[in-house]
């Protein structure tokens, strides 16, 4: 024994612990080209090259790799074969500076190709606003969308439907295999009247979902639809959402039209690891409901994450990029990511204090299901070395940071509007317009400019402009800036 290992060999080779020997070989060959003294020069090259060699020497040899995996397992760093997170750094090494500097880490969490975990059945609750403003075609569309969801569920999936105005009503209690005809006739009786008190709807929806008993065995989701502002119970809504998230229930907060509070809907989504969506017209409701539920089918678990920072290192922001850009709400280092079946990218913006040359433990990460059975863990090391210059920033990081930059401009503008800083907010929208234009988003850029023009006089955005900018800036498919 007595072998000296580092916990980040797989990360250095940018492969998962489940990579085949062939994948390790080809990753090494690719990286060696990037690291080789013929390509990169100076001290850093030798420094980084040595690390890569060390990792490769261990992983190329199946026997040494087995011993290394054992070593990781003993440290609790070897994952179940289910999920992995690829880790990409903005720079592999930083220069020692007398002042703090920025560093970015991009995680791509994905299910392993041939993982053996079967998808879980759905435990779904639709929570529909039936206040007076929903009257007519809006309510009809919402009920039609609900019926479609019901019809497309699999036998093992459970569904409940709750409506709310000044109070909540359970129309369909949580059950599998609702009789479609009976359900339709119940839905036809739903009327729109009264005010909007959303927390009643959320609370009643949660109660239905909790009837499922063992929440670990299902994908638990609430589809919440409203077209108006809730009255005075905003904090209660977010508190309930956080409670839901902790129990493995995520909320898709869907706003119809322009008269609802996007910041509240987003807070509900964030707190529960869900998403918030803007539906301009009720006709799109059936499609949106179908897409949301479709995305859940095939999910194997709801996810949570945990980040622990090395000494002196600060997390400036944590953002998820899929399915749309949003800030990740963290409590005590833990956060909820909701159910997913594809992959999720997370960008961590870090502030590195002045550090001496060497390897520094920068970040411990953990992603896994809420039950804690399927976890992937790892450690990210930061290399500080003299003579580090001219390293190319990976284009994946540039693209992610670019999307986040636009998201943050929008976020700042909203904060300034809320704080009555009209001039600042207007200038911010112009900055936003410039970056949107560069990203090829001409319509959104134009909209931001228009809104910036009226903002100093009105102190606010137009209702439609507000929703379009808020949601439009989160779904951009940005190209990284051109090189040279």
């Amino acid at each position: 024994m007595g072998e000296e290992f580092r916990p980040d060999y797989y990360q250095l080779l940018e492969v998962s612990p489940f990579a085949s020997q062939e994948e390790i070989e080809s990753a090494y060959r690719r990286l060696v080209k990037e690291y080789h003294p013929d390509v990169l020069r100076a001290f850093k090259t030798a420094f980084l090259f040595r690390q890569l060699q060390e990792a490769y020497e261990v992983l190329r040899d199946p026997e040494r790799r087995r011993r290394y995996d054992e070593w990781l397992r003993a440290k609790g760093l070897y994952p179940e074969k289910a999920f992995w997170a690829n880790v990409l750094l903005s720079q592999r090494a930083l220069r020692p500076l007398p002042e703090p500097q920025a560093w970015y880490v991009l995680f791509t969490i994905h299910a392993e190709k041939d993982h053996a975990i079967p998808p879980k059945p759905l435990n779904l609750c639709l929570v529909i606003d039936t206040s007076t403003s929903m009257k007519g075609p809006k309510l009809e569309s919402a009920l039609k969308a609900s019926e479609l969801v019901l019809r497309n569920l699999k036998e093992e999936d459970a569904l409940a439907l709750v409506t709310f105005n000044d109070r909540a009503t359970v129309i369909l209690p949580l059950a599998r295999r609702h009789d479609p005809r009976k359900a339709s006739s119940l839905l036809r009786k739903v009327k729109a009247e009264g005010g909007t008190e959303m927390s009643y709807g959320i609370s009643s929806g949660l109660a239905e979902l909790l009837k499922a008993g063992n929440l670990w065995e299902s994908i638990n989701y609430m589809l919440l639809l409203t077209d108006g502002e809730t009255y005075g119970d905003e904090e209660e809504c977010v508190r309930l959402a956080r409670e839901a998230g902790a129990k493995g229930i995520s909320i898709a907060a869907v706003g119809l039209g322009t008269d609802w509070n996007e910041e509240l809907m987003e807070a509900i989504a964030q707190a529960s690891g869900g998403v918030s969506l803007y539906i301009p017209h009720h006709k799109e409701l059936p499609k949106t409901f179908q897409e949301r539920v479709g995305a859940l089918m095939g999910a194997v678990s709801a996810f949570k994450g945990k980040l622990e920072l090395g000494e002196g290192i600060n997390l400036k922001g944590l953002f998820r990029l899929d399915p749309q850009v949003s800030r990740v709400a963290m409590e005590g280092g833990t956060f909820f990511l909701g159910p997913f079946s594809g992959s999720i990218r997370l960008l961590a913006e870090l502030v590195i204090p002045p550090l001496p040359a060497g390897h520094h433990p920068a970040l411990r990460w953990e992603f896994g299901d809420l039950k804690g059975e399927l976890a992937a863990r790892g450690e990210v090391y930061l290399t500080i070395a003299e003579g580090v210059e001219g390293e190319r920033i990976p284009k994946e990081i540039l693209a992610a940071a670019g999307q986040v930059a636009i998201f943050k401009l929008r976020e700042k503008a909203w904060k300034e509007i809320r704080g009555g800083e009209r001039g600042k907010a207007s200038q911010r929208l112009l900055f936003l317009a410039k970056q949107l234009e560069k990203a090829g988003e001409k319509d959104l850029a134009l909209l931001a400019k228009e809104e910036a023009k009226f903002l100093p006089a009105t102190g606010d955005l137009s209702a439609e402009g507000r929703k379009r900018l808020y949601y439009g800036t989160r779904l951009l498919a940005l190209k990284p800036p051109e090189e040279g």
Partner: protein, 138 residues
């Protein structure tokens, strides 16, 4: 701190985008580098994207510098295969000796190997016996 070229806001070093205005901070404006040989009289102009390595091609390993002095009297003048590189960091250009056998000089001052120094337009850089005047054009 580094200053955003678009809005003037201060950002942390190595920030990728400006916190105030969203401008990319690592985006590089096109920069041309013009090299004039004071010993041989030739002139060459090339874009400085990331880095320019000056040296001699090595057919044995397939190594090719961006600027190959093999057919410009590089062997006789003692130019190493990997002699010198120019590179950009933000708005600054640096010059670095790559551990060459006969050394590099900037304005008659010797460069320590692998210790980049800032380069200004019009500086004279010597690689062994080859003297280059380097101009930077934005």
């Amino acid at each position: 701190m580094i200053r955003c070229p678009a809005c003037g806001a201060e950002n942390l070093p190595n920030s990728l985008f400006c916190e105030e205005c969203g401008e990319p901070l690592i985006h590089e404006e096109k920069l041309m580098v013009k090299l004039v040989s004071l010993t041989e009289g030739w002139k060459i102009e090339m874009p400085l994207e990331g880095e320019v390595i000056i040296g001699r091609a090595d057919p044995a390993t397939g190594f090719k510098p961006h600027l190959d002095l093999s057919d410009k009297g590089g062997v006789e003048k003692g130019v190493s295969r990997r002699h010198l590189r120019l590179f950009r960091q933000g708005n600054k250009v640096y010059v670095e000796d790559l551990g060459s056998s006969n050394g590099s000089f900037i304005n008659n001052r010797r460069l320590l190997p692998f210790s980049p120094e800032p380069l200004a337009s019009g500086d004279e850089v010597r690689l062994g016996g080859e003297i280059l005047k380097i101009y930077l054009e934005g």
